[in-house]
Amino acid sequence: MIGWLSAMAVVTILAVLGTDRLGRPLTDEEKKRFGALLREHDYPGARLVALRFALKLTRARLRAQDLMGRVDVRLVRTGWDPAEVSLVRRLCRLVWSEWTHAIEETEAARKAEEGFLREMQVTEGLAIPSAEQRAAEYETRTEARMYAKAQLEKLRAAFENAGDAVNLLWLDHSLEEETDLQKMAAQSGRDVTEFYSAAKRRKRVVRRLLAEERGVPYEEDP
């Protein structure tokens, strides 16, 4: 009996998985649980904070509202774990993710999902991606690679124009699988603090690139 009760308790405090992760629509019970969770954490209020962020990024009311509409859908699709992140942060991350079209899921989450789907295929007869889908995915990945290459070239040009030698080094090392700043510093004969302070400049240039690409005037926060 206690074991059953413990299981029930665990079920009630678990995160709500989204439809993407589950690979199916939410059941009525899951929807109710998700609704209750959002109510408890003042979703309407948190959504206003996220809407303000959307407005800051898009600089236009209609575009901000459109962005939030996509965030609403994305929240249901990707779910939310209150133990991992607060609702307001989750929504703001989704705003950023939708605005930049970044795919937020980690590799680990994707692998877990693949495992779940394989299991569903066996137990529930769930369809797995077809050969056509896999071909389309390959095409999408190729397009994503081309886009990223173009963005990195723009970034390189910006660093060159600014004479930012440290960030040029960071870019080269990053493309060579090196992510350790200490090693980058040692290999380039520079002080590691130069690499730390370069991060701020790099973020600023990326934000400017993202804004310009979307036709939004770029303004840095004070």
Binding site: P25, L48, V49, R52, M68, R93, L152
Partner: protein
Amino acid sequence: MPKRGPEDVWRQLVDEAGEDEVERAASVSVAQAENELAQAGFDVAAERAKGAALIEDLEAGRHAGEGKAAPSRAGDGPQVVTLPGPSRRFMRARWLALPAAAALVWAAVALTTGVTVVGTGQQPRPEDVQAAKTLHEKARHECAESKWKACLEDLDAAKKLDPNGEDEAARRDRTAAEGALRGGR
């Protein structure tokens, strides 16, 4: 060593660039967001209603987004098959079982976590819960108008009525009011 793909590096850069922005954006209080949105010409009540509508849709067992389990970007997910939902009979039985299940879950949480009720040891009366909610709403408006003292007093009064009823928005209002009063604003 295989080279890191440009898409990996670009994604890292975009995530990195967003970290500070997200943190800054998420640290804003609901009251401040309401003010700024109103100044930008938004109908704040209507925007709030959109959030409430999503909750109501979910609680009523419907939501447009859930049918769109297919990803927005082509090809980053599997085909989706709708599994059969529970029967009407089961739904009715489940509604009857819900209060019992809720009591059992509460017992289970207490058993597994050792949680005890702080305060009088009794659940607040429904009318007290409702009054506390009204005070939270009032406090929110007071915080929006920078009436920090009144805001904090109402939050304290609400807490006396419903000790566990302070939701995330009320906690944010409390933090904002306490911070403002400490800072002498």
